[in-house]
Amino acid sequence: MLPIQTDVEALLKGCLRREPTAQRQLVRRYAASLLSVARRYTRNTAEAEDVLQDALLLIFEKINTYNPQRGSLEGWMRRVVINAALGNRRRFAFTREQSFDSPPDSQDFAPGVLEQIGFEELLALVNELPDGAREVFNLAVFDDFSHDEIAEKLGIAAGTSRSLLSRARKLLQDKIQRLQRHELASI
């Protein structure tokens, strides 16, 4: 078993020299967190692993384009994984803007409901969202992309991105409320 190398700089240098040992250490160090990212953008674990493999191969190939002054290595790799995941999915045909009423903040939850939802449960709920809404929600909420960036990545209008985010929030809130009702009923 190879020791996990903690020195990111040395790891980066090794990967720049295309050393298999360094590449393997990079995989060992970041695979779990990157798979978590890939998992959010895919329907199942197998697809997420496939995306992650493609992304890691791309990372090894393009690691010379990484600029440490523009952000952390992990952040850069997360973006590569996101791009790979988005590229892996079918291209959405957002031909018209969609609008949704009522801002999501108006939803009422019983006190303590949101606190009780674990992250894994939430991921499962997010995964049930329609593809477009799910991806916009992931990009906007988890990965902090602006609507302009999302629009550029997904090839849609920024307004569409906002609408999809609103829709995703609403759907998610509905799901949480249904979950809440189901739990209350089961008591």
Partner: protein, 499 residues
């Protein structure tokens, strides 16, 4: 908690979230994917090249048909069907040179003596008389001489060679009728079609470095690509007579330089005759034991080997040669040590017999200590005759030193003896082996690799220095004992070659 705070919490949770994954399994899958992509890439590259070649052939064939349809009797071009050229068909089938024809056409056979007919394509006068035999076509036809002959103008007479070439950058050479100075770097994809009244069994030599076989072919087509520069060219050409009655094609990769052309010093085969020699070597060796350890192997023993034998080298095509011979190889491992044994012996013994019983009394003040030292020699001797068959590539530098990377296998048949010899002061040297005269015969296959250097010693002799390695591929035939050896050392030899 409101929704906004909830999303913030989700975001924070996602930052540190890790999905369960086996990184090592993931790495293995990535490697498999990487290898698969590599093969897919090459597969598509192959498809692309085949497509390119096919398109070029089709394009060239179309052009050739067009040329044939445009020919008139006044053009002087003979357009004869293959069956009208028995020599063509015959020679195309053999696709080899008449040895007697290894002279320039211009010196022996006039190309076209019929003055009523337009002359054949430009045939420059050979600059040298030394020619290399080619088992194929000149790769670029008449155009191939351009970087070497440096002629600004060529015989404007209409030739029978039609050349269609695409060059990057586009050089002025687009037809065989005229030539121009090439650019410094040129890449050419060219298809040539040749039809002419060449005499059978002749060679025409457009440039000293590029002797073009007449190949006795009145028709031949070529397709290929080449990089040309004033210093030389590298090309890969496919050539075939069309129509091709023998269904033979030739792929002729070759490398040449302008310097060779000017000096007419084609790379010569380092060995033109069978060379004979003696070779010996000294080695150290290692033992590899996948099976039981029957080998009396101890730290500190000397693992030595030597070999001696006769070799012969047979020239193959180009710079390749085959080496074989018979070598006696002897591996020894000898471990010597001294074994001392102390014993206390009484100097004086007094026996007293009392009432029929026996008793012995010893005067303890008279004890002495005796030390007996034995010299023990534990040995293994592996003696084998080997017949190596090795492929060598000979690259000569400055006409002096020839580098000889060599790879081959050898069969070994031999005998293994092992035992223990003990020398003590009383008995002298005695064989104390558990199994006296323990010998075992064996047969095995070994791989051999070496990088030799050959230095000329006078006119016909060469000195050979050769770092060498030998690995046993098989162990002993006894299933229980599968020891294999590897042997590393320096081989020295002298080789005689008839000049």
């Amino acid at each position: 908690m409101n929704w906004q705070a909830f999303e913030e919490n989700m975001k924070k949770a996602s930052q540190g979230h890790e999905a369960p994954v086996d990184p090592d399994a993931l790495w293995e899958k990535m490697q498999r994917k990487r290898r698969r992509r590599f093969f897919v890439w090459w597969w598509w590259a192959g498809v692309f090249l085949l497509g390119l070649a096919g398109a070029g052939l089709w394009w060239h064939q179309a052009g050739r048909n067009q040329l044939a349809s445009q020919r008139t009797p006044e053009s002087g071009l003979r357009q004869e069907a293959p069956q009208q050229h028995p020599s063509h068909s015959k020679n195309a089938k053999t696709n080899s040179l008449d040895p007697k024809a290894d002279v320039p056409a211009s010196q022996t056979t006039p190309r076209n003596t019929d003055k009523s007919q337009p002359s054949a394509p430009y045939l420059p006068k050979p600059a040298q008389t030394e020619h290399r035999k080619w088992r194929g076509h000149s790769p670029l036809g008449d155009l191939a001489e351009v970087p070497f002959s440096r002629e600004k103008s060529r015989d404007p007479k209409e030739g029978s060679t039609r050349v269609a070439a695409l060059e990057i950058p586009a050089a002025a050479v687009l037809s065989g009728a005229d030539s121009a100075q090439l650019h410094k770097h040129n890449v050419r994809i060219a298809a040539t079609s040749e039809q002419g009244a060449e005499q059978p069994s002749t060679i025409k030599t457009n440039a000293p470095s590029l002797p073009e076989l007449g190949l006795n072919a009145v028709e031949s087509d070529r397709l290929g690509t080449a990089y040309l520069s004033p210093k030389g060219f590298v090309d890969l050409f496919w050539a075939a007579p069309l129509p091709d009655p023998s269904a033979q094609t030739l792929l002729t990769p070759q490398l040449d330089t302008a310097e060779m052309a000017q000096k007419s010093q084609m790379p010569k085969d380092p060995r033109k005759h069978i060379a004979w020699g003696l070779m010996g070597g000294v080695y150290t060796w290692q033992r590899h034991t996948p099976g039981l350890d029957s080998f009396p192997y101890m730290a500190g023993q000397k693992l030595e080997a030597w070999s001696l034998g006769a070799i012969c080298t047979v020239p193959l095509r180009a710079a390749w040669q085959l080496r074989t011979g018979v070598l006696l190889n002897r591996q020894t491992s000898v471990f010597r040590w001294e074994f001392s044994k102390s014993s206390i012996k009484p100097r004086t013994v007094t026996n007293n017999f009392l009432d029929g019983t026996s008793n012995t009394s010893v005067d303890s003040s008279l004890f002495v200590t005796v030390v007996t030292t034995r010299k023990i020699q534990q040995y293994n001797h592996v003696t084998a005759f080997g017949v190596p068959v090795e492929l060598q590539y000979a690259k000569t530098f400055k006409n002096r030193v020839t580098l000889l990377p060599t790879l081959g296998i050898q069969g070994r048949i031999g005998q293994w003896g092992k035992g223990i010899l003990v020398q003590n002061p009383v008995e002298g040297l005695v064989d104390r082996s558990f199994f006296a005269s323990h010998y075992q015969k064996f047969f095995g296959i070994s791989a051999r690799a070496s990088v030799g250097c050959s230095f000329p010693l006078g006119k016909s002799w060469h000195l050979l220095l050769e770092p060498s390695a030998i690995w046993d591929l098989t162990g002993r035939t006894n299933a229980a004992f599968k020891e294999r050896f590897s042997q590393y050392g320096l081989q020295v030899g002298v080789v005689w070659e008839k000049k």
